[in-house]
Amino acid sequence: MILVIAEQRDGKLNRATWETIVGAQQLAKVSGAPITVLVPGAKAAGVAAELAAAQTNEVVTVEHAALEPYTPDGFTATLQAVIAQLSPAYVFLPHTYQTRDFAPKLAARLDRAIVTDVTAVKAVAGETAFVRPMFQGKLTADIVPQGPAPHFITFQIGAYRIDQVVKGPAAAPLRALDVTVDASTIRQKPEAPFQQARQAVDLSQAERIVSVGRGIKEQSNIALAQQLAEALGAEIAASRPICDAGWLPMERQVGSSGQTVAPKLYLALGISGAIQHLVGMKGASTVVAINKDPDAPIFEIADFGIVGDLFEIVPAMIAALKA
């Protein structure tokens, strides 16, 4: 059985869960394994009813004091008890920050394999292999998890499209699980989540974005990218290292820890295209990459590319736009 662990907070589903269900359905199509979706946490019932639309064998909920608020200790202890009851062959999760916080601990507790940041499932010589990026996306690996079940697999956000979910003819049956967990073993005391400052810049609505990465080399060169943005009628944005260095404010960061954007035009200047950046801009309709490295992963998702020196190309573009 494939156990999909849904992610929700306060009754609101994290939509990456749907993508993980697609991953489970694709493996089930080949292996014939049944799928169980687990919704942990308070107010799970509404989310469970929503997820029951997908073609699976059942949706189970588990509500326990150890799950609220989220802590890695509480999730590990509770899910350990759930896994002992359900005995899955695989445990599938979306590769969210929350999953990254507890799933390796759960796998280590059970001493079972965990393959993270997976983008596809495939058969290799009769074995089920999981495809994941390595070396900042420069290479891809097919991984076969080793040792006894269950094997934990976390799926990269954007690995599948939500519209790939196969809906069932009728809602999947719902069931509530009872587990015994000692909540006094939880050592973390979390406070309420907060947003640092109100986002003054909403890049998600931008039609055109010029985004800069490490290839811009120096803070003083940001002005050049800004001139191009003005000529294109675009907002300026950046990959994480540029904001870490303070060359542009954090609110202009695109990627998993920043904003998710879907402009008509995304022009990447000197951005290599690490996964953490790509997940934030995959939704752009036209992607242009300008980079000196022909093997930069950004070219894998670009519609148009120029391999070369951005300090020569960008001034020429500005001139061409003004001509």
Binding site: P72, D73, T96, Y97, R100, D101, F102, P104, K105, A108, A113, V115, T116, D117, A129, M134, F135, Q136, G137, K138, L139, T140, A141, D142, P145, Q146, R187, Q188, K189, P190, E191, P193, F194, Q195, G233, P241, D244, E251, S256, S257, G258, Q259, L265, S272, S285, T286, V287, D295, F299, E300, A302, D303, F304, G305, I306, E312, V314, A316, M317, A320
Partner: protein
């Protein structure tokens, strides 16, 4: 405060990937290596905590002999001593193998705080810090952007204890308190990195590097819990039109295509 920082040596950013004959790992002899960037931030955070609260910073690394280069660099930046778990098999080891090797080597020191980068730029598991916490029996928190240590004076953070700022997705954050000893994985950008000074480089030569040989490493490169059956250059998801020509010609042609073909600019 006794602080351990786990650092990894990874191929540098300019490295062009080349595969070995087995097509399951890279040709190490072609690669130039550097300190994993998130680990550099973890080291900086450890040094700042030591400056504020006193104690010592111990660098721990699991890898082949070449790893001594980044250990020296960390010592030059201000770490006090180092533990090197040395084995060729650790170059391509999975997260469990690495965490087990580090946990065994670190046990006798009984560190108050263990810091790692949130993930490595090579295999990118984002697992070692969390698995290490479980192996050491310590509480943990991941993707940390600020660290506060209780000084006994206030209730918050608990004393002795920690209060840390976790980064959540989409610009959200959360403070989490926990007792010491603990393990944290540090996010890039938590601080501004320092560089080694000449004095630091000279001083590093006299600092202790304790070499440990791993006791129970699985035989072979990736014989842990994950087997790499194939490593390859990724297939392109989109058909990219690479525009050729001089910079001026290519720029002009790109602008034309964006106007006339993609119709994304006026």
């Amino acid at each position: 405060m006794k602080i351990a920082v786990c650092i990894k040596q990874v191929p540098n950013r300019e490295w062009q990937p080349r595969l070995d004959d087995s097509k399951t790992w890279i040709r190490e002899q072609d690669a130039a290596f550097e300190m994993n960037e998130p680990d550099a931030y973890a080291l900086e955070e450890a040094l700042r905590l030591k400056e504020k609260h006193g104690g010592e910073v111990v660098v721990c690394s699991a890898g082949p002999a070449r790893v001594s280069q980044v250990i020296r660099e960390a010592l030059a930046r201000g770490a006090d001593r180092a533990i090197h778990v040395e084995d060729d098999g650790l170059a391509s080891a999975d997260a469990f193998t690495t965490a087990d090797a580090l946990a065994a080597a670190m046990k006798e020191d009984e560190f108050d705080l263990v810091l790692t980068g949130l993930q490595s730029d090579d295999q990118g598991f984002a697992q070692v810090g969390v698995v290490l916490a479980e192996r050491l029996g310590r509480p943990h928190a991941t993707i940390i952007m600020e660290v506060q240590i209780g000084d006994g004076g206030s209730q918050r953070p608990p004393s002795p204890g920690l209060r840390v700022k976790r980064e959540l997705e989409g610009g959200w954050f959360q403070w989490v308190a926990m007792p010491l000893p603990a393990v944290l994985t540090i996010q890039s950008g938590i601080n501004q990195l320092r560089y080694a000074t000449l004095k630091g480089i000279m001083a590093a030569k006299k600092k202790e590097i304790r070499k440990v040989s791993p006791t129970s490493l699985p035989a072979g490169a990736s014989a842990g819990k994950q087997k790499i059956v194939s490593l390859y250059v990724p297939e392109k998801a989109k058909k990219t039109q690479i525009i050729q020509g001089s910079p001026a010609e290519a720029a002009k042609e790109l602008v034309r295509k964006l106007r006339d073909e993609a119709r994304v600019i006026a």
